[in-house]
Amino acid sequence: MGSMRPALLTVAERKAAQGHIQKIKFDTPFQPRLDALMHTAEWYDWAGYRAPHSLWSEELEYFAIRSQSALFDISPMVKYRIEGPDAEAFCNRLTLRDVTRLKPGRVHYTAWCDDSGHVLDDGTLFRLSETRFRLCCQERHLPWLLDGAFGFNVTISEETEDVAGLALQGPTSCALLKAAGFEGIETMKPFDIREFAHPGGTVTVSRTGFTGDLGYELFVDTPRALSLWDRLWETGGPYGLRAIGYAALNTARIEAGLIVANADFITAETALRADRARLPDEIGLDWMVDLKKGPFNGRRAIEAARRDGKARFMLVGLEIEGNVPADHAIIYHRKKREVGLVTAAVWSPTAKRNIAIASLERPYGDSIVDDLWVEIYALHELQYTKLMKRAKVVSKPFVKLARRTQTPPGDF
């Protein structure tokens, strides 16, 4: 069964566990390096951690992703270790996709639902071995996972604080890693996982990312986090390595058409309003729902919703005329009827288009896709300019880069 922290009984133990009161936001294992590079002082809260929104220049950080190499601290990402003879069966029951087809040494992007088929979160499932998985996600789910472990021979623990993570993204990232001694990195295919030597042990590298670009994610035990950063940083100069914050990453991820929990949809457990929870089919994750694989959590509800036509929403990509990002703008049909909301929007520097991810109420976005308009309020010196801009439903990703999947990647 899953492990839990024992109750803290003595005063000393309780005091020791109250450190978070002294510090409103946690430091990540890379904090000394981030602090040294921070020029904008733009921090934001990522799951209780102090994380950079930008470090020096939002725009230039973005171009590091698309033209050089960008280093982004992903340590605050919530991580669970799932281990045991029934780990595969457990994950298969938990998530939407077929885990029996996920080979050891591979990752897949997946999602999981509550009993009513509403998405609890999306994330990546790493199969580190036949019997060991790592689930990475946005929200905390330990009680759900532990309850789900009932009847399975599996151990589940949260390892968010034990494992530090770095995303290294960009066209020169493979070459950089090769130069830093990650031998054979160029043979890794997208969604491959491999262990590489690192002083004091190993570092787990996956060819994954959140940018739609060539890129890797590196995981290491927290005590060796700084030595990993230094190893990359020392090699990174000639490859244009830059540390980046979330703003740059967000632009890249919107271009890649990737969604963020509690930004593009509200997760079922955090939704306060009953009608905010979403089925996979309502947030563009219908492709994950594998009805060929047997039972999984929420399957009955999802099948029933499909049968009864209960999916009420649609997550789509929009291309909007003009160049003003339409963040959280209301979408109208024939400029009159409210039919949805933009969940994320940006002027795409790479596509050179004004793009957005939007949630529409069906049939808009589904069978009715024409005559859609976006109402943008641009605030200029205490005066709104109201823009009504035409929006076109387009397929995602908005930016598709051959180098994302090319193997071996280009050398530099």
């Binding site: 029951r93 009993d115 309850d147 009932f150 009847g151 047997g294 959590n297 399957r299 009955r300």
Partner: protein, 520 residues
Amino acid sequence: MTSSDAIVIGGGHNGLIAAALLARSGRKVQVLEASKTLGGAACTEEFAPGFRVSAVAHLLNQMHPEVIKSLKLESHGLSFGPGAAPTVTLSAGGAPAILHGGYGERLDGVASSEAAAWKELRALLLRQTGILKRFLTSPPPKIGNLNRKDILSFGSAGFALMRLGRDEMREFMRMILMNIADVADEHLSDDRLKGLLAFDGTLGHHLGPRSPTSLLGLYYRLAGEVSGTAGAQVLPQGGMGAVANALVKAAEAAGVSFRTGTPVGRIEVENGRAASVVLEDGETLKAGIVVSALNPKTTFTDLVDIRELDIGFVRKLRHMRMAGNVAKLHLALDEPPEIDALASEFQTGRMVIAPSSDYVERAFNPAKYGAFSENPAIELTLPSLTDPTLAPSGACVLSAIVQYAPYHLREGWASGKAKFMERTLTLLESAVPGLRKLVRHAELLTPADIEARYRMPGGHWHHGELQADQMFVSRPIAGHAGYDTPVEGLYLCGAGTHPGGGVSGLPGLNAARHILTREA
């Protein structure tokens, strides 16, 4: 591989009723029972040579007339014996109060002003029960997905409530979640009657008389009837096993086949639908539908592959409270005890040792913390007085329900059992002096024993606490009320479903009727 239209798992009284009703619709129905005999906890067992007793429930007060009628149970041998049995309050040295007919239609041994107050309270409670009664015989509404029938049923309750008049409607809404001790205090002054109400409101529940909602337990009792008399009770001739026998005969007549000594290993689910039942010995029995009369938790966590079930559903099932709090005592006596204060005809009913609300509340206190009552509340019967076949000639059987005896006893029942037996016998001796020297054999069934013997988790005779949060639209669990389960073709029909435990037959009746509408 044999095949049935329906397999009913568990040959307790609800399983038998569901099986019989399903078979009468022309289906081929088989009942699988783990133990050697049918009837489940409705049984008569020999606990000492020549001494037989209703081993769990010993009074019949809730068998629903629709069950009796639809299965013609009287023609299959169901006999209520000599009519409504009295209830008597018993205490050391005190004079008894005697309730006749349906829950004290008439009283003896009570001051006339108190008798008038009782009459008024009894009538009020019966009127209120009348509002609730209509919900007993239909599946609980599915909140968020009400059908026409549900709305009509709520509507008729609302209408019946309005017909009582505004004041009484308000009084009902005020009272419904009250505790029984406060209700009793508002109306009565005689501690013996208040103690009896306290006992009847809490019997079989993990509640004390001052726990909120303990009035519901009394409503549940008063919703029962015998031969048209609300609140009445009888000691069935031949013990509760005779009731089970009548049900077996009715089921046989309907064409049901039985297999006893046949524990089920698992329920096989194929493509989301229950397809077959695999016995513990490996034999597979195919079935069109599977109906489980077992505890809801047992049904799913023991018999169904957990992967077929959703996490939230299993979580709720595992949180269902079902720790029993009642022990059963059986005494084989050399001869009937002498109860000085009580004329012999009043010894044929039920005698309750619960001299006041405080007494019952104090009995409950230790149970909250995993200890048994130092002075338990006791309901005792002497069934051999009206059915001499239960004991050797001249001897006597004493059957007693003793609470509180928490399933999760802190010290464990291995050592606690003897101590609790001693406490109980000491208490009985003080109420019935001379009893102990008549005892030839004594058997105490703790909740742990009841669990092991009758496969009732927690030894809980309701298959799960029957409290406001686990009843009606939340029984067995919220979001999954009624007899359907997430697994297609798998239904529940036991006491864990609406309306709950007791030998009422209603879960079995409602489940069968519901299944017949679903699987036409």
